[in-house]
């Protein structure tokens, strides 16, 4: 009897060890917690739609919004059309709690572009974003800052949580012909009006 108990225990322990090593989620005691883990990371369908137009009355801007991710160097990508703006679709949506980011070209090699007057905005100015569900979000400029392109505060601009914010980004400063890059980036920070 004693030997039978020992053998049984040994067999159970070995089977459980093998199952755990090869497929941890298959153990019954993990199933419930495993489901809870997955449920916790599933992103709910956002209440806000996808941005389709950016409107800034003060600088007579009414532009279509492209969706972009990262370029080949891991930077935020830019709009293909210089008269469109680009929303960073790996971040927050305008209207969601958190900082949404929209970038636009200051200029091209031959002409001005969609954000060439962005520097004219000051705190208190209005910004509107229309989404694909027909809803409009109203933002008010709260601050503007210029940063050297290599000391751009990525976390602060892209990952701030809390209130719904919209950060507009464009180039500024001196153009480096050899690097084909402007020295600075202008950020217009704005907060959503409830």
């Amino acid at each position: 009897m004693k030997q039978f108990i020992i053998k049984l225990s040994l067999t159970i322990a070995l089977v459980l060890a093998a199952v755990w090593l090869f497929e941890p989620d298959s153990l019954s005691f993990q199933k419930t917690t495993g489901r809870q883990t997955k449920a916790a990371v599933i992103k709910k369908e956002p209440e806000t739609g996808l941005p389709v137009r950016l409107i800034i009355p003060k600088i007579n801007l009414d532009a279509a919004v492209e969706q972009v991710g990262l370029d080949s160097q891991g930077r935020m990508d830019v709009p293909k059309d210089p008269w469109n703006v680009a929303w960073y679709d790996k971040g927050f949506r305008p209207g969601e709690n958190g900082s949404a980011v929209i970038a636009g070209h200051l200029d091209t090699a031959t002409s001005a572009a969609v954000f060439y007057q962005l520097d004219g905005l000051v705190p208190g100015d209005d910004i509107y974003v229309n989404d694909d569900r027909g809803k409009q979000y109203h933002f008010v400029v709260s601050n503007k800052e210029s940063y050297p392109f290599d000391r751009f505060p990525l976390e602060a601009v892209f990952a701030s949580e809390g209130r719904a914010q919209l950060n507009l980004v464009t180039c500024q400063g001196v153009f480096d012909l050899s690097a084909q890059n402007y020295s600075n980036r202008l950020v217009i920070y704005s907060e959503m009006e409830e």
Binding site: I5, I6, S9, W20, Y88, D107, A112, F158
Partner: protein
């Protein structure tokens, strides 16, 4: 024989504890929902600066 049995019971309990720790560790780790790029966008062609 008794000691072998105790050893295997202890091993089983340890295994259970480690696997639970793994699961709870995952639960407590916040899911990355936002991705931060490695650089600011290149939003200029240079014509206004020349």
């Amino acid at each position: 024989m008794k000691s072998i049995l105790l050893t295997f019971i202890a091993l089983f309990v340890l295994l259970l504890a480690v696997s639970q720790a793994r699961v709870f560790g995952q639960t407590n780790t916040p899911a990355p929902t936002q991705s931060v790029p490695s650089g600011a966008p290149a939003t200029g062609g240079g014509s206004l600066s020349r």
